[in-house]
């Protein structure tokens, strides 16, 4: 699937905005993305490995809850990864 990264997260993906990640679910795709971009991992996930609540994740425009990250997704699907707010 295609993951679209935006805003304050871009510097953790070397400013790549659209990244193709082969994975069976949205959650697996985010894990794979963080494996490829190691500095993104502590930003995206907390110490328990859960996606931080400050991120909003959309699958084809539909916002997902943390529990819905197990939802299957294929090559034609797109995931938007947004940061709600930053404290700088």
């Amino acid at each position: 699937m295609m993951i679209r990264v935006s805003g304050a997260l871009l510097r953790f993906t070397d400013y790549r905005r659209v990244i193709s990640v082969p994975a069976p679910t949205v959650g697996a795709a985010l894990t794979s993305l963080a494996d490829d971009y190691q500095s993104l991992k502590p930003v995206l996930f907390d110490r328990e490995g859960r996606v931080r609540a400050t991120h909003q994740i959309f699958l084809n425009g539909e916002q997902l809850t943390r529990e819905q990250l197990t939802r299957p997704a294929g090559d034609a699907d797109s995931v938007d990864l947004l940061l709600a707010v930053s404290g700088g």
Partner: protein, 283 residues
Amino acid sequence: MPRWDAYQMSVDASCFTPLGLQPTAVCRLGFNAAGRWLSEHALSHRRLVAEYQTGFVLWSAQVIFDQPVTFFDSDCLEMRVMGRIRGGGTQFECEVEVDSARGITTRMQACCVPLRLDGDSALTGAPARLGSGVMEAFRPDEIEVRPHRSPAPGLLVAILRDGTELARGRTPFVIHRHQCEVADQWYWPEAVSLASGGREELVRVESARVPALRLSLSTPLRRLDLLFNRPFFLFDEGAVLSSAHEWQGRLVFVHELVGFEGGEPRALAIEQFTTLLSDRAWN
């Protein structure tokens, strides 16, 4: 009495239009003043972020331009600033006064919402009450239980209900890094720049049809109200949806800053000009 700071600030030509202080410059000077007050009397913004995992995001601001001050009036502006906690630790509010040789020229009131930062390098965070370590840096008379209430939503309702729309336009934009702060999130005074740009585009495109719009270029801004819902970030695409209104005899512009996703505006700016629209203005 809450503590006030007073100091002089050198200004240069970039802070002014031919009519007076640039609204964006006032917001930048005001936010700098608030940071200075925090540093002098409580905790510096850097220490708040780095040591107390506390950030601030601006939620609401009002700027009143009492009388214009021009580049030729003085070399320095006299800044006065005070800060306080409101809403029992859910808001930080600052008041800023800008004086010149002609007296008080501009007043700004701005209210920030504290964030509890997650501790990662993107400075991600969520709104939270200020911790006791931060609250202790404020004196009892600088902590107010009552929250700040933004006048912007009520003002918007009144303008749309009682005013007459004169023109409407859309100005797209992309956020670049020079418009951002340390976390690649827009620096909130950019909302004022984008709104001003939206207004000037509206004037440029529509003033042949509505000559009164040109008064916004030849008369000073009287009042600016800002309300923020969500920030923009680096490379975010958006648009300023600007509309001009006659309201209570004044020329007023409403700017909604919307993201690519549509829906609720991420920010709202309402500009009121000193001019009273007369029959002459319509010719």
